[in-house]
Amino acid sequence: MAVGPAFDEIMGTAGSRQPRAALAALGDWLDTTDSAELRRRQQSAEATFRQLGITFAVYGDEDASERIIPFDIVPRVFLKDEWDRLSEGLVQRVEAINLFLDDIYGERKILKEGILPNDLIFGNAQFRPEIAGMRPPHGIWAHICGIDLVRTGPDDFFVLEDNARTPSGVSYMLENREAMLRLCPELFRQFRVAAVDSYPDRLLQTMKSVAPEHTGNNPVCVVLTPGHYNSAYYEHSFLADSMGVELVEAADLIVDDDIVWMRTIAGRVKVDVIYRRIDDDFLDPLVFRPDSALGVRGLIAAYAAGNVAIINAPGNGIADDKAIYSYMPEIVRYYTGADAKLPNVQTFRCREPEALQYTLDHLEELVVKLVDGSGGYGMLVGPTASKDEIANFRAALVAEPQRYIAQPTLALSTVPTLVEQGLAPRHVDFRPFVLTGSKGIQVVPGGLTRVALREGSLVVNSSQGGGTKDSFVLMDNGPSQSQAQS
């Protein structure tokens, strides 16, 4: 792998044998707990996940459908001041995303002022002209954002991707914590770790806070799923369950006179807020894809009439599009009046001739991604790619440059991870979850750490064989006081 030595979240500088000062206790724990014991606990966690059916489906996988995501027992840790800085950056970014969406589907000042090229919006498959002029209740678009981050050094966090449509993974954040509490309680005695289990309550509050204004005191909220064959179905049911709301499929909803109802055994019940886990394309066959069987006829009309809140708002894809991503520093500055506290990874937009040329000249060093790809599909990791793969990508780039962006291969931070030979550093990324309601923005102290289990690999996607870890956010910068005294 051509990437240089990487910062380690626990050990600090690459190759260090001593953990970072604040994490000495974690270093001791790793030293004194032998691999066999760690492995036993890890297997116990995975057996529980299998029993609970915490699974995801891998698209295109022959042997059907169900796998658990490998779970790694060694947590990644954020010190308090690291987290505080990250949170500020996340709040700023999500604020900008919301203002951007409101503008793009409204007045379009950012285009009029020439900050963004028009065709980047109007020629973009993620832009939904059907939504233009509609405004969600309370003017909030991106209620739930998952912002993918990577780290390359003590102070170097970069945003890799903004997920403002239907980011998933929050169930793993919660289940991984449950597993750690059960299997490694000693760690929680040594470190004061911020709790993540308030997430469902916060989500429900967020949903209720953005109900249409004329709704009563107790708005009816639901989670809309494509159904139990969807890869993230476990998460959908988990969230509905932990919020105590109905998990509905499109066939359970009916729109009548611009009002959304659900069919129950005792008749129809009016629905006020829908957390949809269905893409825009399939949401309403009258407005988007007419062949969608997953959609609800008339839903968008009900939304336009202001009778229902849809979370996240339709049309959000334009904010997490990879072509728009490269303009995010400008977008943040335009809407918040300040430089982005969380920088982007340097990005070459292949639609621009110079950037394309640079990309073609440096394919062996770059990561090239489809603008509208996700889940690690349709990407080239230059340093590990074969000659054939590079040749294929070169042809594809020349044919349709506007579909691609390229980024330098970063030395992603590592975390000690239990592999066959024992503990070894493996690259990670991180997805925190940011909630925006009518009463403000909040960052849940935790998130989903994904880990590339193969040595040297930078691909952490679960669909590409990545695993997950618990993510500790410390409430102070070191071992807890009570522990120090005992």
């Binding site: 029993q51 059916g53 049911s237 109905e246 129950t264």
Partner: protein
């Protein structure tokens, strides 16, 4: 509650109950085949197939009528919709669709039952088959236990309603088929094989000891019929299933505020069974009685679907 959810819960109840019943049927048949003084062999396995109306499907599969192949057909055959694994698969799909309405215990119960069959291709010999059956029964018992620890609300009532309707059907079929076709040619009524076969019926519904408690009179077919049809104390009797159906429907009516056709049918059936005497049934034809019961039960099933807007 969503109509779709109610429908899935009801079917979940039916499929778990069916899987459990087939497990008991296989167990009883293995016993009859292996333990009786003269192995009943083919006839026993043939009648096991007849109970669940699967004789033709088995024949079409081309396999011979042996313990091994029938046991495989009834337990592991994924192409046969009436096998235990197929029932559990459908139960699990329904459970997944309504996970939010189930407790963790209830869901893991059904998921664990399903996992028993993961990667398994043969039921093995008699002992291995019995072990497999024992595992299935343990998990379905666990599921049933979990159901009884759920909130006493609509979710629980719909699952139990499915179970009650399915149970009535299973018991009626068992009694009907065993009574009519079990005895091999040349065997006399009241002979050894005959007696073993009546014992098998009791074993299938877990009622051997119950029978001894209630009837101080050796094994009499008329008593077995009385027990399985009219005794409210036996949880798998037609009378007990009818009681439970009425009770569950009235709980649901209280909660939703709607009575309907299903309530009326269930109450009418309940009243009629209460007046039934097993001697009269035998005089007028047990087979006719059971056939009518099964048909009526199917009508009740459809009425339930209409009443709660299952689609």
């Amino acid at each position: 509650m969503l109509s779709r959810t109610a429908s899935s819960l009801y079917w979940l109840g039916r499929y778990v109950e069916r899987a459990d019943f087939i497990a008991r049927l296989v167990e009883a048949t293995v016993r009859l085949d292996v333990l009786s003084p003269r192995p009943a062999g083919e006839v026993a396995w043939g009648s096991a197939l007849a109970v669940i109306d699967a004789a033709d499907a088995f024949k079409a599969s081309g396999a011979n009528l042996t313990q091994q192949s029938v046991a495989r057909f009834l337990t592991l055959d994924t192409s046969h919709p009436g096998s235990i694994v197929s029932c559990l698969d459908r139960a699990r799909n329904n459970a997944r669709a309504v996970r939010t309405a189930l407790t963790r215990d209830a869901w893991t119960g059904i998921n664990r039952a399903w996992l028993i069959f993961d990667g398994r291709s043969s039921p093995g010999g008699a002992t291995a088959t019995m072990n497999l059956i024992e595992a299935v029964k343990a998990e379905t018992r666990g599921f049933e236990g979990a159901i009884h620890h759920m909130l006493k609300n609509q979710a629980t009532w719909f699952i139990r309603l499915g179970q009650a309707v399915e149970r009535a059907d299973n018991t009626a079929r068992l009694l009907d088929v065993k009574y009519h076709i079990l005895l091999p040619a040349g065997e006399t009524v009241g002979g050894v094989v005959d007696r073993d076969q009546w014992t098998t019926i009791l074993q299938t519904v877990s009622a051997v000891t119950a029978y001894r408690w209630l009837y101080n009179d050796g094994l009499q077919p008329a008593n077995v019929i009385d027990l399985l049809i009219a005794r409210h104390e036996l949880p798998r009797s037609l009378a007990a299933s009818a009681d439970e159906t009425v009770e569950l429907l009235s709980q649901l009516a209280k909660r939703t505020g709607h009575h309907g056709e299903a309530d009326r049918m269930a109450r009418a059936r309940h009243t009629r069974i209460a007046k039934t005497r097993s001697a009269d049934i035998i005089v007028n034809g047990l087979h006719q009685y059971l056939e009518a019961f099964i048909e009526e039960n199917a009508k009740l099933h459809f009425a339930i679907g209409r009443q709660f807007k299952f689609s």
